[in-house]
């Protein structure tokens, strides 16, 4: 049923965009939306497409931007990574969009990146990722590892007194890079080699017996143990279930996850997950006027009172707000002007406080740790004192610790080596 709705929805919106293109022609500012509406990532990315559409609608109600109406151009890269490059090119050359909001997986971002740089496009990327990248043409509004993984580890270390670490992840680039950074970070903090256990599993792994039993054994050796999980999607549920069945509770061995949020938890049997942790920059449960307002709008826009909000949605929201501010400041939608105007922009976080855009195209945001509740919401148990500035190049990897990104003059470089004072030109 839902598929049907979705399909008609897409068909309608596509039809609508085509119509409006011919009718309104040059008098609009075009906003490209490059999110998968079909395939495996559709579950997550459709939400973000709707968020952009909602923001566009809202902006238009306020009278648009620079006296012009905004117009969303939605394309479907269908969870097919090379297609992201193709659709990105289509948006930039045929539709001539002024900005793109899009991508979820790192591989899709890496796929569209060369196109953006070649055609000098502008893209906002709203998902937490492994870092080690800063392009002039991309603004990263999701969390870098130092805005999610490292604070989570700090919380476990300082507040819960964790001394032994299990780094468990699905076998692909994001977990591997994140775990590499975490391992280096932990060792720099005096954690011994034998107190770190690293484990990778295939996508959709469902037989967790041995791994959970290993974790249990690893955790029963006297030191407080925690699991830092970069396990992706489907595999999480059997993992948490097995933890519950083997009698491991969140008080004994807490699991902190980086890819489990409200959207993933909605409609699940949360019993085995209660008390485990997740680290994000946003939780739906945070009480603030901006958030209440946003949630109400979202439910009205989707017409579903049960819809939840999540972190990548906030990242999209912040990115969109900042872009409109930057366009107003620059007085034009020209990519170079907007790019410079973006740096230093401030906008309200949904969780209170202000988000700030740094010279390296990453945001300064607060970091929150939440405990999973029975209703699938996350209750904040810890947050960083102030804002944490996103670090494009990790300080804990030997290859990137001397690198910084700074897109203001005189450096204007995404990969600047502070030791040799050179810019490699390679942005990723």
């Amino acid at each position: 049923m839902k598929i049907k709705h979705l399909v008609t929805g897409i068909a309608l919106s596509m039809g609508a965009t085509v119509l409006s293109v011919s009718a309104l022609a040059a008098d609009t500012i075009k906003v490209g939306v490059l999110h998968s509406l079909s395939g495996t990532m559709a579950i997550s990315e459709t939400t973000l497409k709707d968020t952009v559409l909602m923001m566009v609608e809202e902006q238009n109600k306020k009278g648009g931007l620079l006296g012009k109406q905004l117009e969303a151009i939605v394309v479907d890269p269908a969870s097919n990574w090379p297609l992201f490059a193709e659709k990105g090119r289509e948006l930039l050359t045929q539709e001539k969009v002024d900005v793109i909001f899009g991508s979820w997986t790192s591989v899709s971002r890496k796929s569209v990146l060369p196109v953006l740089e070649e055609l000098n496009g502008l893209m906002f990327y709203p998902v937490q990722y492994e870092g080690e990248e800063s392009s002039k043409n991309v603004f990263y509004t999701g969390a870098a590892p130092n805005q999610q993984a490292i604070p989570a580890v700090n919380y476990l270390k300082d507040d819960l007194g964790v001394e032994r670490w299990v780094l468990a992840g699905t076998d692909y680039v994001y977990p591997r890079t994140t775990n590499k950074i975490l391992e280096a970070y932990l060792k720099a903090n005096g954690v011994a080699e034998e107190d770190i256990m690293i484990n990778y599993t295939p996508f959709g792994h469902s037989d967790w017996q041995s791994i959970v039993s290993d974790i249990k054994k690893f955790g029963s050796e006297g030191k407080k143990t925690a699991v830092v999980s970069t396990i992706n999607g489907d595999a999480n549920i059997p993992f948490y279930k097995e933890l519950g069945n083997q009698g491991i509770s969140a008080e004994d061995i807490p699991v902190v996850a980086f890819s489990v949020g409200e959207e993933e938890l909605s409609g699940l049997d949360t019993k085995p997950l209660v008390g485990h942790l997740a680290a994000w920059n946003y939780f739906q449960s945070v009480e603030s006027d901006a958030n209440t307002d946003f949630i109400a709008k979202w439910k009205a826009f989707t017409g579903n009172p049960k819809r939840v909000t999540n972190d990548p949605m906030e990242a999209t929201y912040i990115g969109f707000k900042m872009w409109t501010q930057a366009v107003e400041k620059a007085g034009t939608t020209d990519v170079d002007a907007v790019e410079q105007a973006m740096i230093g922009q401030e906008t309200e976080n949904l969780t209170g406080g202000m988000a700030y855009m740094n010279k390296n195209h990453h945001l300064s945001k607060p970091v929150l740790i939440g405990e999973i509740q029975e209703d699938g919401q996350l209750e904040v148990v810890w947050e960083t004192e102030g804002l944490v500035a996103g670090d494009a190049w990790s300080d804990f990897l030997p290859g990137s610790k001397d690198l910084i990104a700074d897109w203001t003059a005189p450096i204007s470089c995404g990969n600047y080596n502070t030791k040799t004072k050179t810019c490699s030109g390679q942005t990723y």
């Binding site: 049923m1 598929i3 579950i43 484990n199 017996q209 006297g222 489907d234 069945n245 209750e379």
Partner: protein, 535 residues
Amino acid sequence: MKYLMAICGCLLSLLVSTSALAASPSEAQQPLLMQLTEVKLSKALPVLQQLEASTGADMMPLFKTMLAGKLYYVKESRSLIVVSKEQGETRYTGLFSAAPRDDLSKKQVKKIKVNNKLRGYLRESIARMQLHHSDPEVRVEAVRSLFSDLDAPTVELIRTARLDEQSRSVQAVMDVALAMDRAEHSEDATARLQAVKALYGSLEPAVRNQLTKLAENDPSGSVRKAAQKGLDKIAKQAERYNFVNQLFFGLSLGSVLLLAAIGLAITFGVMGVINMAHGEMIMLGAYTTYVVQLMLPNMIEYSLWIAVPLAFMVSGLAGVLIERLVIRHLHGRPLETLLATFGISLILQQLVRSVFSPLNRQVATPDWMSGSIEINPLLSLTLNRLYIVAFALLVFMLLLLVLKKTSLGLNVRAVSQNRDMAKAMGIRTDRVDAMTFGLGSGIAGIAGVALSQLTNVGPNLGQAYIIDSFMVVVFGGVGNLWGTLVAAFTLGIANKFIEPVTGAVLASILVLVFIILFIQKRPKGLFPQKGRAAE
């Protein structure tokens, strides 16, 4: 099991205590309770500690409700209430008065938050209060959960409780706790030595950790030696139980493989149809479980028993339909059958996506299948896996019985051995074909019910098992049910013994490589069919 019982005990006593206990909090407690509704999460611990130390009303119901996350307060009066959800209805009851408060609504109450730190404290505190619980099992669990945090007041509590403890098993764990304390804190080396010796034979992780510390740091050489000896004993035991544990994991994985493959052993093994839609028959069974739970939300405990026959019928019927409509027309053309059934598998997946949404569906696990039986601190068997091993064997036996002892079985065997001759004998072969295919598919549906308890129920469920199923059937020898059984358990156990060494990713690769090599050597699998039937 003990753990489970303890939980059940807790819940039961919770019910009893919340309803029967009417003692109202003392004057000293009142302001603390009020504070509980006001303090920040990070400042709640001292309040709870003061409450535990206070006299007056029993704090057990408060702590237990809080641990269960059911403690709320009324915004206006700041009085504490219990909010519980029963069969979709929210109920409000006073915490100490136990009087129903039907006048309240969701907007008037607010939850008292708990985090892991508080949960840890609450659990310990409840354990301390439970040292005098009437059920010895609960007392044993209470002492055990205090093992990891034996500070002086706790030890004192255990010591006093030990004095009038009657039950042998409780005495034993209490002695271990006291010995642990002596081994750590006693000034006298001989006393420590005796304490260490008293710890021999206990497999508790806390004991092992204590011995490790002693073996490294104790000033007395004889104590260090004794502790090391204790550790060696534990290590020897641990090795043995580790082996048993891995064997169990292997059997459990094997039983999953068996369940998934056993239906295919009939459709592919006996009938010779390469059925790529086999995984989707499993998926249909899993979705049947979901629908049963959706229809009967109050009968989760029995839902699986209802789902098993239903899943058999749903998948079996689908199987018969597929056979009648498609496979019958492609008889003797394996390649076309393969492609056609692959198409059917895609159609079924898409059908499920359209009907149920592409998201995974939630299938609840009944309480009797959650948790584990703890045989000793080093070895516990998870209940869901245990049931599934038994269930897989049961299904296998039943199937064997059907094939050997019923007339349908006789016909099936006759047709699969020599179709033309069977036809000449008056057997309606196409009817037998349909029934056989239905039987195989139905069994796959039953497997789906079991798998719904282990993995995600979603459109891709079948895809995850189809390769494994073919692997098992081919490895075991096509057409031989016993071969399937042996193959499933061999592969399961092999996988679980390789996994700790190589990791999960490499383990499955190694198993595949092994099968390829094996098939090179013996193309017909472990138990090839012999004689004329082989052709």
